[in-house]
Symmetry: C2
Subunit: 245 residues, 2 copies
């Protein structure tokens, strides 16, 4: 099943941008009258009939709409410090999108070697992984923010929902006895809105960890293995995915 | 903490090959008398004193041995069909090694687009990920075998242990009601030896799935998300890792 992304839809027609149109018309050779499947990136998949097969700007008429298509029963924000090697962070974006994440926030820690992060490539990867994994909602890729600002100012993933969000911070301080396993933290939570904070290669600073705990973050560990930043981020997203199965 | 791999050790001395010696002596500038940490790749980490700092073939005297260092409380074999794109399979090798896997078997399915797989790069990646994630045991990378041969002839991961191995096959046949979630399968298992079979992009053939079930494999699903082959393989390894936490 091939999905196309509509940059614009009114619920009756879907419009594809030049990239998507070129792929649909030039590469896959769809023609007016063909049935195609289109996502709005916000959670709805449309079964459509192609009405305009222009390779620069194709248009399709909606035959049927599937709201919440390919969704998951939780709301997950992963705030993760970008890795020195961009490919590793982008790999995390792809894998977290496949597994199921709602928002990715690149956070810059005091010990981050990478202090600047451009989101353009991550946005393309998130779109492509969303289509590839048959989801209708593209995860939000936020603009980079410092770890401290994220901890202090971040709004819940879904502001309309009243439930308390479960906020977790995974750090590696040796001998820190406050940490519980991420599964234990998830088992004890009845809601569906989870935020996980993953540090840089050099871990969080004690000050960042203290601030997080002050703001209601639960310190967790991800088990006995020593994981790279991007592996820890994907494992944390996977633990949430499995906990809500 | 930096680890070096000894291609040869008698428990009293560890010998590093040219690559490891060059990294230890030329790059990190260790000299005779320095204390270094060496793994044998079989599960033991040695605290050593460097006795010969030749960059072609360094040698170190064992001061202390730590058997089972960085190990995990299960034995996991992941048999996975190599992806069209080699990088994706090698990414799985790296991530599964970080999380904790004992044996990786590249299997060739009837629907595999890649019918040939060379293990040399995967072996290097497994070694590097083992050192990076502070483990002493390098996962075995088996030679490629067909899915059917693997199902019919594979010996348990640890032949000496008597317990029955839990054998799981993850496939995506729509409407197959026999499948249970991988967590459910793991919850119902009291042993510690797990084998997971992950198919190619085109999934297993019905014949391969039938054969697996005949040979005691439990059909499992990995949740609602549609995952790439390498993502499914890492998610399955992560589910085992979390189940034994």
């Amino acid at each position: 099943m091939e999905l196309f992304y509509a940059y614009e839809t009114d619920g009756r027609f879907c419009r594809l941008d030049a990239d998507e149109s070129g792929h649909c018309i030039r590469v896959l050779r769809h023609r007016a009258g063909d049935e195609i499947h289109v996502i709005d990136g916000l959670g709805t998949m449309f079964r459509c009939r192609l009405t305009d097969d222009s390779p620069k700007g194709a248009e399709a008429e909606v035959l049927e709409a599937f709201p919440g298509w390919g969704g998951h029963p939780y709301r997950l924000t992963v705030a993760c410090c970008p890795t020195k090697n961009n490919d590793r962070f982008e790999w995390f974006v792809e894998k977290a999108t496949e597994v199921g994440v709602d928002r990715i926030v690149p956070t810059i820690g005091e010990r981050s070697e990478r202090k600047v992060y451009k989101t353009d490539r991550a946005l393309r990867i998130a779109l492509s992984a969303t289509k590839q994994s048959l989801k209708a909602r593209i995860p939000e890729i936020a603009e980079p923010v410092s770890v401290k600002d994220f901890i202090c100012t971040d709004a819940p993933c879904h502001s309309e929902r009243s439930e308390e969000s479960l906020k977790l911070i995974a750090y590696c301080f040796e001998g820190d006895t406050r940490r519980i396993s991420i599964q234990e933290a998830l088992r004890g939570y009845q809601g569906s809105d989870v935020t996980i904070l993953i540090g840089p290669e050099g871990d969080f600073s004690p000050e960042e960890a203290r601030l997080a705990v002050e703001h209601g973050y639960i310190p967790v560990h991800l088990g006995a293995s020593r994981l790279r930043t991007e592996t820890a981020a994907v494992l944390a997203a996977t633990a949430v995915y499995l906990a809500f199965e």
